[in-house]
Each structure stands twice: as structure tokens, then as C-alpha cells.
Symmetry: C4
Amino acid sequence: MTTSRLEAFSDGVFAIAITLLILDIKVPEVHHDLAHALWHQWPNYAAFLISFMVIGIMWVNHHAMLVPVARVDRPLLFLNLGLLLTVVVIPFPTSLFARYVRAGADSHVAAAVYGAVMLTAAIFFNTIWWWISRGPQLVHDHVDHVAARAQLRRFSIGIYVYAATILIAFISAPVALAMHFVIAVYYVVDRLATDSDGAPAAAP
Amino acid sequence: MTTSRLEAFSDGVFAIAITLLILDIKVPEVHHDLAHALWHQWPNYAAFLISFMVIGIMWVNHHAMLVPVARVDRPLLFLNLGLLLTVVVIPFPTSLFARYVRAGADSHVAAAVYGAVMLTAAIFFNTIWWWISRGPQLVHDHVDHVAARAQLRRFSIGIYVYAATILIAFISAPVALAMHFVIAVYYVVDRLATDSDGAPAAAP
Amino acid sequence: MTTSRLEAFSDGVFAIAITLLILDIKVPEVHHDLAHALWHQWPNYAAFLISFMVIGIMWVNHHAMLVPVARVDRPLLFLNLGLLLTVVVIPFPTSLFARYVRAGADSHVAAAVYGAVMLTAAIFFNTIWWWISRGPQLVHDHVDHVAARAQLRRFSIGIYVYAATILIAFISAPVALAMHFVIAVYYVVDRLATDSDGAPAAAP
Amino acid sequence: MTTSRLEAFSDGVFAIAITLLILDIKVPEVHHDLAHALWHQWPNYAAFLISFMVIGIMWVNHHAMLVPVARVDRPLLFLNLGLLLTVVVIPFPTSLFARYVRAGADSHVAAAVYGAVMLTAAIFFNTIWWWISRGPQLVHDHVDHVAARAQLRRFSIGIYVYAATILIAFISAPVALAMHFVIAVYYVVDRLATDSDGAPAAAP
């Protein structure tokens, strides 16, 4: 299998998951002061925006990660399905976070679940890159798989960062939400700066 | 990155967002006179039709805008994600507009939100075209980027028109809705007339 | 514009609309005798099946219709968007039909709306084929556009058949539903028999 | 028709169906102890996971099955639509299973419906492979259709296995659910072991 059908299917899943996020922003039912009711929904907009950025960055990284790949084997296929499972799940913790971020004790649970899903995505990204860069089997001839493997260390930072958001979640859910926003912005800026298409700068 | 995977992902998002619009047209629950109940839902049909036309025109323009593009860099990638964010959002203000267009004071808020989303889309279209046409870096060799840049002025009219719909929204929501319909029809006719594939006639 | 991006976008819309049909089949809420509750939902299964067949056949025909096309102009682009509008709408009358087919007087309205949407699709298919076959502008050099145009007559039968289902709707909604099923089966069998990829046998 | 547009449309349907599965995982409405409420939803997570794996494996197999195919005829087109019908349906029995797996007598009905949908998918996979391998008409010149046909026997095991899950469903729904999980894991491991792209190892 070449990467083209893998990319087409993955693009479809990314595109649908990112679009389904909007289904969680509901039209409020009020009889007066719609503006206030809309404002009151700010956690939904915040969660929507962050998850949109996260899936968007994942899509950009997913593409970058497949650039050096010449051949797709079965383990890569199923690792990719594992990553897509996490992507498909994202609308659920997004909705959960938006609903419970102002809910006292339950806010910690919601924020931790959100962080756990992001952590899972980061682990899958690392595992996929580890599998791709393990030797010359899957990559194009001109790709230096030793150099690619060396990127794993920088790559794995995402795992620690997302693990940290789970800890933060038990201190303050809004702070964890803000942290996810900062991480997403960091990845966008980082990607704009490096502009290297050969490998993902970091996960996700 | 070439334009092909960017287009594939964007097409997916456009196709899903345009199809999700139908989810806002609900089957009415009545015990007699279904015809009247269906008729009573006219704002939903109107909002669906206008948003369908808007997303459809955006898709046509998006394609036209990428025709001269030979290379995709990171800023273009993220500007495009910003535009897709607006496209994904559209089902929400559509639903909001349909629900509140007959709701007195709240109708103004709903209409203004709808206009604001369209304005955001127009701004993203302008920014993307400004980025593409800023020099010879991204376009094919045969493309005259100075001429392309000159189109920005005509292009930017959309920004003023959509800004105007926000002002109109505070006078009359149904008039703003009609205005969005007229703008959409104008763009369809304009595109049919020029039939130039080299650059979008106007945004969105 | 070549047909490839038009096809990709259309395929996306067809795929999403056909998949969204399942959202109308709800899990019944009962405390005993689930089997009976599931059986009681037969109109939903019937409407789902018929609409799935209709969209499936439309997708097959849409492909066949674009085989002779070499160039896509703006009118074709917007006619195609009109057809996609009808495709996107289909889940709504499907749901309406399923909900009201057993509802006495209202069943006629629901059946007529379903037939009207199918009639609209047939009209768009005819108009698109009329536009494609109007001369040598859009078709490949080896295509005989006069012969293609001659197929319009056979092609237009769909318009009369679907108009008839609207009349039948006012006599008996279940009969109209059965008629839509028979038409769909006819088109599948007809397509299997001719197996001609050069042009759609009939619309839709 | 070549396989490319068939694959594109099928990929779209697979991608959407697999993503829609998440819509059945709802945010619980509680005032305290969110963690417990989330835990209480385990049948939804289990059903989601199993159906995700099933659709994922079907997608991998669907690709493998089309590798030897050079030409698509109408019967293959409609057999494929029949398979896609089953794929589109999957979110419904998934939701049904999750809702009723703890519901006493009704759990048997829900589990049997789930098994029946999987059985239907297996039958379509077998029929499609039987049609592809019936002679040299559809396959590439270098493909040995006699050898391909010989794989049908191994291929058909899936039919018996899924038929067995329906019988098990009437003894214990949780056991049937576990059995579906084991089957999915078996197929993943089996695929990883053989890594043969020429033909699907088994259905689905």
C-alpha cells in the first residue's frame, strides 16, 4: 500500500472530526437577551477553538510525518488507525470540558479526561514516528533514518507536556484549558518558524 | 507541500459543513396540518439555502484562488485552516439566524452574528490572496503576481459589504437576511459572467 | 477546472449525505419487548433503504454523466451545486416520510414533499445533461454530442415518473413509498443490464 | 470505471461512519461525581471501540480486496454499495448494543441485531470476492484468479463466526460483545502476521 490511500482516509477522518466539533455549539433557547446567553456559552467557544487548533495541527503534522514514507506496512496502518481513533474521540472530551469547566469538583475530572486524550494522541504520534524511523524499510532512499530517529527525543516532549496538563487539571480546570490553548499556539508558531517539511517538529 | 493534499482536506471540510446544514431542518412534531407546520419553518429553509449558496461559492472561489499556486508554505497552511474554521462555524450562525429572525430584539443579535462570521470569512479570503500574491514565491512561473496583487482592491469589496450587513442587522434582521441572499446571488451571477479561473472575482 | 476536483467534492457530499441517513434511525427507549419496538420502526428502515438506494444510484449516474466531460465551465459548476443541494436535502424528507407515513391526512403531505425533492433532483440531472450535450464545448473530442443529446428524451422519463409519485402521494402515502422503492430497484436493474458507462441510462 | 473513484467514495463512507460513532458517546448530565457517571457509560466506550476496530479492519480489507482489481463493472459497483449500506448502518446497532447490553431480556435482541449486521457485512465481503475472483474479466493480467478463488473457503469462515455470535447473543449479550472484541483483535493480529496485500485474509 502506498501512502496515498492512507492519506485520503486519514484526511477524511480529520476533516469530519474537525467539522463535527461545531455540533457541540448549540443555539441557546431564551426569550430575551440573546447576547448574554451567547456570551454565557464562552466555554463552548473556547473548547471548540482549542480542539479545532489541535486537530488542525495534528493534520499538518500527520502530513509532515508521512512525507519521508515510501511504503506503508500493516503495523503502520494499524498505528495510524489508533491515532485516528484518538482524533475521532476528541469531540467528546471537548464537549465534556465545555460542559463542566465551571462545575467545581467535576471540572477536574473533565479537564483530566481532555488531557488524557491529548496524551494518548501524543503517544501514538511518537510511536508512529518511532516505527517509521526504525530503519530504512519504510522511508524513501534519500531519507536519513538515523537523523529522523534522533528527532524522537525532541518529538517526545509533547508526551511530558500533555502529562503535565493532567496534573494541572486537578489543581485548576480553567488553567488546564488555558495551558492547552498555549500549547496549541506554541505548535502553530513553532511550525511557522521551522517550516521544515521533512519531519514533524513535535507531537502532536 | 503541494496544493493537492491541501485541496483534498479543504474539499472534505467544505463538503461536510455544507451537508451538516440539513441537520438544522427538523421534522416538525404535529398531530394535524403538517403542511402549515412545514410552512412555519420558512426561516430554516431560507437560512439553509443562503448558507448553502455561501459555502458553495466559497468552495468555487477557494478552488480559483489555488489555481495560480505552485507551492504551499506554512503561513498559507494556517491561513487556510483559519478560513476552514469559519466554514466549519457557519452551521451555528445559520441555525441561530433561523431560530431568532422572528424574535424581536434578539433578531438583531442573531443577524449581527451571522454577518460577523461572513465578514471573518471575507477577511480570511483577502488575507490568503494577499499572501499568495505578495511575490513570486508561491505562484507558478507564468503567473503575474503584480497583476494578481492588483485584484486585491476589487477583492476587498466583500469586506465592506459584509461589514454593512452587520450594521443593517441592527435595523432589521429580515432585511439583513435578504441582503445575504442578494450578495450570494450576485456572486453566482458574477462568477457565471466572468468565468475567469485565474483568480477569484471577489470574496468570499 | 477539470472534472477531478468537481468529482472529489461531489463524492464527498454524496458520501456524507448517504451516511447521515442513519442518524434518523433512533434507538427506541423501552423497558421491555425491544424486538417489538424495533419492528414498530419499520417506516424508518424502509425510508432509509429507499433513500440509500436513491443516493447510491445518483452517485453512479453522476459518475457516468461526467465520463464524457473534458472541461467544466461555471454554469456546469453551479448546476452541479444545485444537484448537490438536492442530495444534501434528502435526509430531511426521508425523516419526514418515516415519521408521517402512518399519520392519516399528513401522510399525503410528507409523501408529496419526498416526491418533490426527487423530482427536483431529476430536473437537475436533465438540465446538467442538456448543458453537457448542447455542443462540443465541454465533451471529449471523441464524444458524439448529437447522439448524447438524443438520449435526453429517454433521460427525461424520470421527470414524469417522479411527478407521478407526487400525484400518487395524495391518494396513498404507502403506495407512493412502494413506488419509490420500485423505481430505485428498476434503476439498479436497468444499470446492471446496460452496463454502458458513456452516459446515464436515465435520471436520477 | 476504474477503481479510483470507487475507492474515493468508499473511503469517504468508511471515514464518515467511523467518525459518527463518537456521536453516541454523550456527555452525562450530573451535579456531582462526574467520574462515576463517566464510568457508568462503559458499554458505550466498549461498543464504540469494537465498532471502530470493525470498521477500521473493514477499510483495510476493502483496500486489500481491490488491489487485484483492474476494472469495475456494474455488479461490483452495486455489491460495493450493498457493503457500504452495512457500514453506514453500523452506528445504529452499536448504539443499540450500548443502550441495552445491561437490560435483561432485551439485551439478547440488541446483541443479535449487532451480530446480524456483522454477518451481513461478512456475506457482502464474500460475495464481492466471489465476483472479483470468478474469472479473468475484472482482475489485472498478472493475477491468478483460480488461486484467488481458492481463498474463498478461508474467507468464508467469517460468515460462520458471525452467525455463531447471533446464537451466543441469545445466551449472553456481554459474552457476545466480548466475542466481537476477540474477533476484531484476531483480525488485527492476523493481518499484522500475514502482511499480504494481494487479498484479504478473511472477512470482514
